[in-house]
Symmetry: C2
Subunit: 147 residues, 2 copies
């Protein structure tokens, strides 16, 4: 199958690499509706001087603009790293159908605060671990280069 | 004292009234550094067709732009209604020193998911109930008019 989770996570990884090349923590996200990518985003906290400019926030706003709709009830968001609480909240409001993330983030991931509580929309489903090694390696390379 | 919490919450209420007049759920927020308002925002979900365009997100981004800084470690955010999980996450990343909200929001407030967990920065402090009746009344008037 061409358009599977691995295919779309590779597209999210391309976004993460854009962040990496710009000196940003390398996280990338895309929003998919059917087989179509309707939003892309990479972390731009440094470039925009805005701590809320996470990959997922930018990908969601890009998808809203693309569709002219404020809800994305049939869409899937792919993100290379476990989302933080803010981004989970944004996905909740977007009414996303599905969230897929790659690598875990013990330090900043949503589970640190939410614990076993479900911060996404009650109808949403979650998958994780897709291309986890590649997603995690990009983060490791970034922080190793900074030290 | 002129510049107290009530003074600044009135400014946040002015923002909430802008949202009300635009047909938006009436929530307003401001960011204060010292005695100076460095960011303002009102809910613009409908106008921007973006479910993440909450008053707090807009006020924070406005403050980042005003200061040219991505952290607000000495700032206070005033918001008329208890923030949601997304907005708490944004405040966490902003490293805000203090959060003050007016009315409680049992349905969408952060405590619904976070429970007794602390979603703000570990150094941040929280106050609530400032002009709570006025903040809540504006919400009630809005939803009553919609029915």
């Amino acid at each position: 199958m061409l358009f599977d989770d691995t295919y779309f996570m590779r597209e999210a990884l391309r976004q993460a690499k854009l962040a990496f090349d710009a000196g940003e923590v390398p996280v990338g996200a895309i929003v998919v509706w059917g087989d179509k990518i309707i939003g892309r985003g990479h972390n731009q906290v440094e470039q925009l001087n805005d701590s809320t400019a996470h990959a997922e926030m930018i990908a969601l706003t890009s998808a809203f603009n693309q569709l002219g709709a404020k809800y994305l009830p049939e869409a899937t968001l792919y993100v290379t790293v476990e989302p933080c609480l803010m981004c989970c909240g944004a996905m909740y409001w977007s009414k996303l159908a599905r969230i897929v993330y790659g690598a875990e983030d013990v330090k900043n991931g949503y589970r640190k605060t939410a614990g076993t509580n479900w911060p996404f929309h009650q109808k949403a489903s979650l998958s994780s671990g897709v291309l986890a090694d590649e997603c995690a390696q990009l983060m490791k390379d970034f922080f190793a280069a900074r030290r």
